[in-house]
């Protein structure tokens, strides 16, 4: 077990807590760089998807896990990013400019969605995001001259500075690079006053407010940043999938994003990456496992939602900190072996706090 002896104030906010972390994250970075040589083309493409979804989940984690606001319409922001990118690319904008534009458009949408936050909170805000998700989906279907309507919109090959990013390996590097940048950005944000304000709002709105935090302002900022990350992911998603249709950004997508975040582990950056990674791995396991199941069961379309539904329920019931929490327990178990006790991570029982006051 590491006992960190702090001698400087900077250690409190440093990205790496000790040299072990530096080593393991460097190893991870090396593995990410080496992946194209180690993996098949198909596996690499799945990794690219994990990277893309990790960016959305990072945004959603910022909102749900760190600011405590539930968004039920995050697929709408994804759609904003994807369609902005598609439209800008068709109009000859280079990727270097169109990607930030996609983030900007989605972010501005996020501000608009966050506006009800000036008046409402908690549950009502979730319902506002739900409503916005549906409205954006419908707008995408109807605005045919921009989005291609239900028929979908095709994207051209992605070329940056003469390099062909249609190629799987190149695109994998691009997505990984952007994902790493996003992770570093969010990490930096979380150790800034803004990030601290987010966490304070999550833990108690009343006490955050009495510490001088402007709730509406910070919630809107959280929505904007979260939406901007979703916009970046949407743009990358559009280039990966090459043809985008409105039904890819429906309510179910929003729910699945939320499920990924919860499965990964609310309130941890690692969770935002574990979640989509786990999701895609399980998806692959289901695809492979289907052949071994009896055909009556294996060919059912409902198999995947059933399994993910069960996983989510089990996580919420038994492991509220998600996969990251499980990993944390396992690591602690190894580090202090053999002194691990069962109650070390016991969930605190609390009485239900009513939001109503009579």
């Amino acid at each position: 077990m590491h006992f960190i002896f702090k001698t400087r104030y900077e250690q409190d906010i440093s990205l790496f807590k000790h040299s072990g972390q530096v080593f393991w994250y460097a190893a991870l970075a090396l593995a990410l760089v080496a992946a194209p040589w180690l993996l098949s083309e198909y596996a690499l493409s799945q990794f690219t998807f994990i990277g893309i979804y990790a960016i959305v989940c990072l945004g959603l984690m910022l909102l749900a896990g760190f600011t405590g606001q539930v968004s039920l319409g995050h697929a709408g922001f994804l759609a904003m990013g994807a369609y902005t990118e598609a439209w800008l690319q068709a109009n000859g904008w280079p990727f270097m400019i169109s990607l930030p534009m996609a983030a900007l458009v989605a972010g501005v949408t996020g501000i608009i969605v966050g506006l009800p936050a000036l008046r409402v909170k908690g549950l009502y805000l979730s319902i506002a995001t739900l409503a916005f998700g549906f409205i954006i989906e419908e707008v995408v279907v109807r605005a045919e001259h921009i989005t291609g309507g239900n028929a979908g919109r095709q994207l051209d090959k992605l070329m940056i500075a003469g390099i062909d990013f249609d190629d799987g390996t190149n695109y994998y590097y691009l997505v990984t690079f952007i994902a790493v940048l996003c992770v570093l950005g969010v990490l930096n944000l979380l150790r800034s006053p803004t990030g601290r304000a987010f966490v304070a709002i999550r833990d108690s709105e009343v006490s955050a407010q009495s510490m001088g935090i402007n709730l509406a302002h910070y919630k809107t900022v959280a929505f904007a940043l979260s939406a901007a990350l979703a916009g970046i992911a949407g743009a990358l998603y559009a280039h990966k999938i090459r043809i985008i249709t409105p039904d890819q950004f429906g309510f179910l997508q929003s729910i699945e994003l939320l499920m990924m975040v919860v499965i990964g582990g609310l309130g941890s950056i690692q969770g935002a990456i574990f979640g989509p990674a786990f999701w895609f791995v399980v998806q692959q396991v289901i695809v492979v496992g289907k052949d071994w199941l009896p055909p009556g069961l294996g060919q059912q379309t409902g198999l995947q939602p059933t399994i993910f539904g069960f996983i989510l329920i089990a996580i919420v019931l038994f492991e509220p900190m998600g996969l990251y929490g499980r990993w944390l327990k396992f690591r602690t178990f190894l580090e202090i072996f053999p002194f691990y006790r069962k109650g070390m991570f016991k969930r605190q029982k609390s009485y239900m706090k009513s939001e109503r006051m009579k």
């Binding site: 749900a64 405590g68 539930v70 506006l115 009800p116 008046r119 409402v120 909170k121 908690g122 549950l123 009502y124 979730s126 319902i127 506002a128 739900l130 409503a131 916005f132 549906f134 409205i135 419908e138 279907v141 109807r142 108690s204 709105e205 009343v206 006490s207 309510f251 729910i255 939320l258 499920m259 919860v262 609310l266 069961l297 059912q300 379309t301 409902g302 198999l303 995947q304 939602p305 059933t306 399994i307 993910f308 539904g309 069960f310 989510l312 329920i313 919420v316 019931l317 509220p320 029982k349 609390s350 009485y351 239900m352 706090k353 009513s354 939001e355 109503r356 006051m357 009579k358």
Partner: protein, 296 residues
């Protein structure tokens, strides 16, 4: 004018369905401050149970109706006992995720059950495709019996619920629990059991809504998405108010029906959400809502 009336009647019928589902939300929200995102999916299960009772077991509609209601009450109580009670006292987000998970699971499981599957089914109710002319055959207002049954059943159900909450011991105990759990507990009300019963009641109402809606929209696995429109209904009415749920449902249903006719294509589907956003900005507590202030 006649056309307007016509639209209002059909809108009111759909609105009653929203109202019933919203009623389910409101009951659970009032009692446990949990929002049940699986409400629409419970309705879907109710529709399928009724369908099975009628077509596979060959029961008459009335018997199937009763059986479904009872079965749904059991489903609701089972869900509360198995997965929601262990989470008692956890943050609202945990509960929301749990109900979202339940709904997601239900949609998956339903498609795997033989005979239910992914197809759409028709519920063979005795009053299918019948219409009643109000004010002269061919000239007056035409009301389909399906719509009429929905409206009448909702009125009866709401009246029964009102009487239940007003006059029975259990109903009053439920009211007490929803106002202050701790005080209710001190008064000797078995709060946990009451919560379970509320889940049962709410699911039973959803089962009824499913059976009433089935003749209009068919029974299929994604039928539960109608339930999402009950959120706007509940918010417009004020989330914790039973008459509010009814009024909110009617408003959403009628606005939707009018938007579908008078506004360009596409507005029908989002009318409910536009209304709720306007409501949230203008009057967040809804028409009948209580003033919400957060306690520290």
């Amino acid at each position: 004018m006649l056309q307007l009336l016509q639209l209002i009647v059909s809108g009111a019928a759909i609105g009653c369905i929203y109202a019933l589902i919203a009623l389910g939300f409101v009951l659970i929200y009032k009692a446990t401050e949990t929002v049940n995102f699986a409400q629409g999916d419970l309705m879907m299960i109710g529709g399928f149970l009724g369908l099975t009772a009628m077509t596979v077991a060959g029961m008459p509609f009335a018997v199937a109706f009763l059986l479904t209601t009872v079965a749904m009450a059991l489903v609701g109580m089972g869900a509360e006992r198995l997965v929601l009670r262990p989470l008692l006292g956890q943050p609202a987000f945990t509960m929301i995720m749990m109900t979202i998970g339940l709904g997601y699971l239900a949609r998956g499981v339903v498609t795997m059950i033989p005979y239910w599957g992914t197809e759409t089914h028709t519920l063979p109710v005795p009053y299918k495709d019948e219409v009643i002319w109000l004010g002269g055959e061919g000239t007056g207002l035409v009301v389909s019996v399906e719509h009429l049954v929905i409206i009448l059943a909702t009125v009866v159900l709401v009246a029964l619920l009102y009487a239940f909450f007003r006059y029975t011991r259990l109903g009053i105990a439920m009211q007490a629990t929803s106002q202050n759990q701790l005080a209710a507990f001190y008064m000797g009300i078995p709060v946990r059991r009451v919560n379970m019963l509320i889940w049962g009641l709410s699911s039973a109402i959803c089962g009824v809504a499913g059976l009433l809606l089935a003749p209009i929209t068919f029974v299929h696995a994604n039928m539960g998405f109608v339930g999402l429109k009950a959120f706007p209904a509940a918010v417009v009415g004020g989330f914790g108010s039973i008459p509010g749920a009814l009024v909110g449902g009617l408003i959403i249903g009628i606005v939707e029906s009018l938007a579908g006719f008078y506004l360009p294509e596409g507005f029908k589907d989002i009318a409910a959400y536009v209304v709720v956003l306007v409501m949230l900005v203008v009057k967040p507590n809804g028409l009948f809502g209580e003033n919400l202030t957060k306690k520290v």
